[in-house]
Symmetry: C3
Subunit: 317 residues, 3 copies
């Protein structure tokens, strides 16, 4: 899409050299052919350092836009970003893509649906009522149980197991809201990448990234009914127990353990080898690795035990 | 079903004029061709004002039944109601209904199943392994991702998106229990109505009403793995974050926000523009609009912060 | 599999009489043709009393193995057990089994998939996109709504209802972890047995047992989005409300009620007629029947109310 067309779609002025824009991305990750956006002054450092071709920006923040980057000045930059996201959304399915390729030795149920453009590796088992979307890729020896949905562009490694009725790549929960309280969808044009040797339980949801990738690294074990928000990164061999939930954009180191019904809020960093007991609620980043936490608000597990003892005494007094 | 046949099914006396009964409903909502029921004396005002043709009632409450209404006197009215509910349950599928109609421009996967009697609007995308039940209606431009189940009689508006593996219209969790602890199903003969411009995440369950309608109003956004109990009403543009749960019959105003893993108990009223933080547990109605709450038991968010500070001090003492 | 082959697979010494081994099982349940394992000294009584043909055991515990039982001495017994479990895993599907048998009067959607070796009773309704695995059995008059997955070897009784998108028999969350933090799958070779007159909501997961059976007894009612871990036993007429979760190997008596979003940790015993309020978190066994609990940590409901009153006073002080 031409940058001039983007300016036109967002109803903002445009006096710069025109170039072809290939997509949207976060300020930090955008390349010189991508458009980014900024909504709040706390990101002014990120604006100054962005490599984006252009940035959607409110007038108050124009001064931070570097000279290498076109400022697309709008009133409500988050809302305008939502408008633009639709233009970069690919077709849900695309009949013009080549028929899916299925590797040698793979058993694909005639009652599965493999969309055009998908690629299945060798010796896979793809069971009945599975859906594999356009340009999705599945590695070798992977087992996908019935009624699993894999959305377009998602990538699943080799030696993985995905249990029944789970969903890989549904849209992240993203929308802009205007002053009247009405919402506009932010199209989630990223994907999910699941590395090798990952096992995922039944009825679990892993959302695709808004831009870029929701990443589940090698050896991770995810139980049933787990929610993984868009743009999360789970470190190698992490273990997420049933009914736990991660809001968006949290990054975890390797071998993190989240107990049943625990949760993390968005945009956190969790150090490697952190253990969160069942029902933990994590609202701040955890910098030191190897510790065990519990409670909501979160505290070290030994503190939590001490607190429970105090509460028990309070109750008796 | 004739009122005399109902009396006979419930093994109770019947000396009134016979009429045709079209269904069952709550005391407040029942019309003059419907049967209702009452189980507890706290509803005696509702009995006195009901327009129902007949009411299933224990002997102790007969005195409150208005003269316009036939009293069907039974020992255990809730159990008898459960017995009767089965008689009004429609067929799950009905081959005698006309083949489904599909609007112009809609793309329905050959691997979807659209039951007889269903209606799909224009320019919809109905993907593989979707099920649309008998007499269900889908508006225009709506996208239903793979493995979604829409039960019979449910209505989905235009410009909606329903993500994979969600379920619209499963039975509400309703049964009567006798003195021995055994249960009898209360057939859930209502439906779900989703208005226009609603987006629903993956692996979410929205239960059909026992009578009447579970209602999701215009512009609502529901995330993944959310539970909406029977007969809830969600106000316009409300936002329900992942793994939140609503028990039955709660009514919310517009732009209510429920954080992740939050919950409401049954039969509450939540004022418009209420925000509930993640993990909130709401057990009482919220009358004043525009406030922010947290915690379980629920308190205003600023109180909750104060409580956490006190608990932190308690822990240090 | 010959015991000598098992020793060879686990790279341990073998000087005993060879016999055919039919499977793996827990120390207490293993028969004289099964192999068991032990990882910790706290189970030494169970070792001494086992009827297993052989036990996988670390050197430090060999002394407790009875003379009737072959000791398979390994360095890491849990890891070795994981290795062995794969050898006893049946094929996911088995084309050599006879075509499924469908009882008289049953209506099976042409868009359902009934694997070879499965048996469907009389007058069932098996809807579109349902999957019934190899050697699974469904009783009479049972209704299975669309997109339900029933894994191989699972048994569902008569007069049951399973709502859409639920999953019966996905693998329990079992793996061994080595010193580097890497995981090895423990194949879940048991099944799920659901007795008669059970109703299960939508998007619910019931995991198969690692050995033996996850058991849902007669008359149980399970709501939506519930997690039942491997090897749990739910007593007759128990009621599990939406989004509740049971970790593995917990046994409940009859008429236990678990409120919404409540949870139990693993290996507990819950007495009959126990009620757990919404959000309860149960970490210890409950011996006395008929009580009502709340909170996390759990306490009697009346204590919990008292605690909330004290907290409210603390907040005002």
């Amino acid at each position: 899409m031409l940058l001039s067309s983007i300016a036109s779609a967002l109803e903002c002025e445009f006096n710069s050299t025109d170039i072809e824009i290939t997509g949207m991305n976060a300020l930090k990750d955008a390349t010189s052919s991508e458009v980014s956006f900024v909504a709040a002054s706390k990101y002014k450092n990120d604006i100054q350092n962005t490599k984006a071709a252009a940035v959607i920006v409110p007038a108050a923040l124009v001064e931070y836009v570097p000279s290498s980057c076109v400022a697309l000045v709008v009133e409500h930059s988050y809302w305008s970003m939502a408008i633009l996201s639709k233009y970069f959304a690919p077709l849900i399915e695309d009949d013009s893509l080549a028929e899916a390729t299925i590797g040698e030795g793979s058993k694909v149920s005639p009652k599965a649906e493999i969309a055009n453009g998908a690629t299945i590796g060798k010796n896979c088992t793809i069971m009945a009522h599975v859906y594999i979307g356009a340009e999705a890729v599945v590695g070798d020896n992977t087992i996908i149980y019935p009624n699993v949905t894999v959305y377009r562009d998602c990538v699943i490694g080799s030696d993985c197991v995905i249990h029944a009725n789970s969903c890989i790549g549904s849209d992240g929960f993203g929308f802009a809201t205007d002053a009247k309280g009405e919402h506009k969808k932010i199209y989630q044009n990223g994907n999910v990448l699941i590395e090798d040797d990952v096992e995922i339980g039944s009825n679990t949801s892993i959302d695709r990234a808004v831009f870029g990738t929701t990443l589940i690294k090698k050896g991770v074990r995810i139980d049933n009914l787990v929610q993984i928000g868009h743009n999360c990164i789970l470190g190698e061999y992490s273990v997420i127990v049933a009914q736990a939930g991660l809001a968006g954009s949290t990054t975890m180191g390797r071998n993190v353990v989240m107990g049943g019904q625990s949760a993390t809020s968005g945009h956190l960093e969790i150090a490697a080898f952190t253990t969160m007991a069942a029902r933990s609620g994590v609202t701040k980043s955890i910098k030191q690795s190897g510790l065990t936490f519990a409670g909501f608000p979160l505290m070290e597990h030994k503190q939590w035990l001490k607190l429970q003892a105090k509460i028990a005494r309070l109750l008796k007094s």
